[in-house]
Amino acid sequence: MLALAVRRLIVAIPTLLAIIAAAFVLMRAAPGGPFTKERQMPPEIERRLEAKYGLDLPVGEQLTRYLGGLMRGDFGPSMTYKDKTVIEIIAEGAPTSAILGLSAMALALLVGGGLGVAAALRQNHVQDYAVMAIAIAGVCLPPLVIGPILQLWLGVEWGILPSQGLHRDEIGLIYLIMPVITLSLPLIAVISRLMRASMIETLRSNAIRTARAKGLPEAQVIWRHALPIAVLPVVSYVGPALAGVMAGSFVIETVFQLPGIGKQFVLAAQQRDYTLVMGVVLIYSFLIILLNLAADMLYRALNPRAREA
């Protein structure tokens, strides 16, 4: 198992390099640069600025320089925030995005998993239809819609929860409730559907028939025998999805005015802050690779049949 993990991480290195190169070249292919602004700068100043950040070099050389910096753990300076490095900016935003993403996923696993199991146990009954209705609504109501509506009702009209912002000095958790709910709704939708389909299939399997035949109590059949098998498709889904939510959500961070990296990333891409964009892309890809690996490991741990392969 450990050897496999190490092998997978080694294989990931060329993939990561290819991602860096692809993103790097794509970014440069977009017109304009970090110093092309509405207000025209004297060409002399623009040239100096470009020389300072090495932007006057050929793209190939810029890439090798960038990779050299990465080897030393240096993501470079930001090109729009003049006195900050990329690492500093990411370190400011990442905790918020990570907490948001992790809590949303935890909530989604609990609620979505629970709803999925509940629906599967009463297939084609009212309970099942109710869960499926919630699931479809979750897919159809994106954060873009549900975020402002929650804000309007819970925040402005009823005044139960603070509608935006984050004050880390106080007890900040209350500020996270609405964003976490908004972020987790689409996840709940997907997880409950996956869980339902897989649970229905598992409950029809021979293993479960055997468990019931030997007279185990129904609760034990479901929690001890069916759940570990039924949860497998959810495990495969959660890996990459978690990377997605942890890397920040522009919509959530904008609607609720939270300082995360999702917002930083979109702004950076629009302003051609090359180094900051590359930094976030790199972290996102690394998270994807890492969490996919973690999901595979968990899959193997839960499913003996996948171990030999």
Binding site: P31, A137, L144, A247, F250, V280
Partner: protein, 304 residues
């Protein structure tokens, strides 16, 4: 095939044996699914409204009523859904936005379909090094965030022409959404390429590309159709996200996503500006999702 003709049938079968294709079966199953039929009806109405609504409605999309700015839904002057904060009739705007959103969803799905099916079928059919290389490219593209791509693609060709810009949105979203499609088609193709009919085509002297497009692709269309139907709502959502970050449809055009993000900014003083397009989008997406689920159940009854 549970409905094999019974005793009553032979008389009819003797003079005209009409085979039923798998697609006929699927259509029958789809028509027996009430949720799918209902969403087909809703979709038909929505498509009709999107296509002809802007022409039939009493107010034109771009007329500004300076004396009736930001009024809530009322029957006076036929502003039944109110006006926006610039004084334009919201009904007209929403109908027009629906048209653009549906158009983006369809066209981008078509682009994704063409790229994804071609890519996946070629990789799966030829296998070996070609497959490795092509799927490695897909893996790499997968690990780059969606918005990053779209932002780069959208800014690469900057044009003041709103219609050209719209076309660009189709291409940009389609160019990103084909990855999953390529994976699905590749998997299906690998399962098919050793089948007898492919062997027969090869023996008959068909070129490899002809085999891929004439024989393999028609046989993988089932999952492709399911994916495409469920992909339209995903793309409508993606477009609304683009509009939210200001890269989507530009004025004077509008889309549901753009109306929603404009409405979200005005939600305290003009909440109808958020709710009208939001409910329209909800209806559209619900219908598309139910239809997609119905098509999947119809093509693959096992899943039920």
């Amino acid at each position: 095939m549970s409905d094999i003709p019974t005793d009553a049938a032979p008389a009819a079968a003797s003079h005209a044996v009409k085979g039923r294709s798998l697609w006929d079966d699927a259509r029958r199953r789809l028509m027996r699914n009430p949720a799918a039929v209902a969403s087909l009806c809703v979709l038909a109405v929505l498509v009709f409204l999107a296509a002809f609504g802007p022409m039939l409605w009493v107010h034109p999309v771009d007329e500004i009523f300076r004396d009736r700015v930001g009024i809530p839904p009322t029957f006076d002057n036929w502003h039944i859904l109110g006006t926006d904060t610039e004084g334009r009739d919201l009904m007209a705007r929403t109908l027009f936005g629906l048209r653009i959103s549906l158009l983006v969803g369809l066209a981008a799905t078509l682009v994704a379909l063409i790229i994804g099916v071609t890519w996946g079928a070629i990789a799966g059919f030829f296998g070996g090094a070609i497959d490795d290389l092509m799927m490695r490219i897909v893996d790499v593209l997968y690990a780059i965030p969606f918005i990053f791509f779209v932002i780069v693609l959208m800014t690469m060709i900057d044009t003041p022409d709103p219609f050209l810009k719209l076309m660009l949105i189709f291409v940009a979203i389609g160019a990103v959404e084909w990855l999953t499609m390529a994976r699905i088609v590749r998997g299906q193709t690998i399962a098919l390429r050793k089948k007898e009919f492919v062997e027969a085509a090869r023996a008959a002297g068909a070129s490899p590309l002809a085999i891929v497009f004439r024989h393999i692709v028609p046989n993988v269309l089932g999952p492709v159709v399911v994916f495409a139907t469920l992909n339209i709502p995903v793309i409508i959502l993606a477009e609304s996200f683009l509009s939210f970050i200001g890269l989507g449809v530009q004025e004077p055009l509008t889309s549901l996503g753009r109306l929603i993000s404009d409405g979200a900014r005005q939600m305290i003083n003009a909440p109808w500006m958020l709710f009208v397009p939001a409910v329209t989008m909800l209806l559209t997406l619900l219908a598309l999702n139910f239809l997609g689920d119905g098509v999947r159940d119809a093509l693959d009854p096992k899943e039920r």
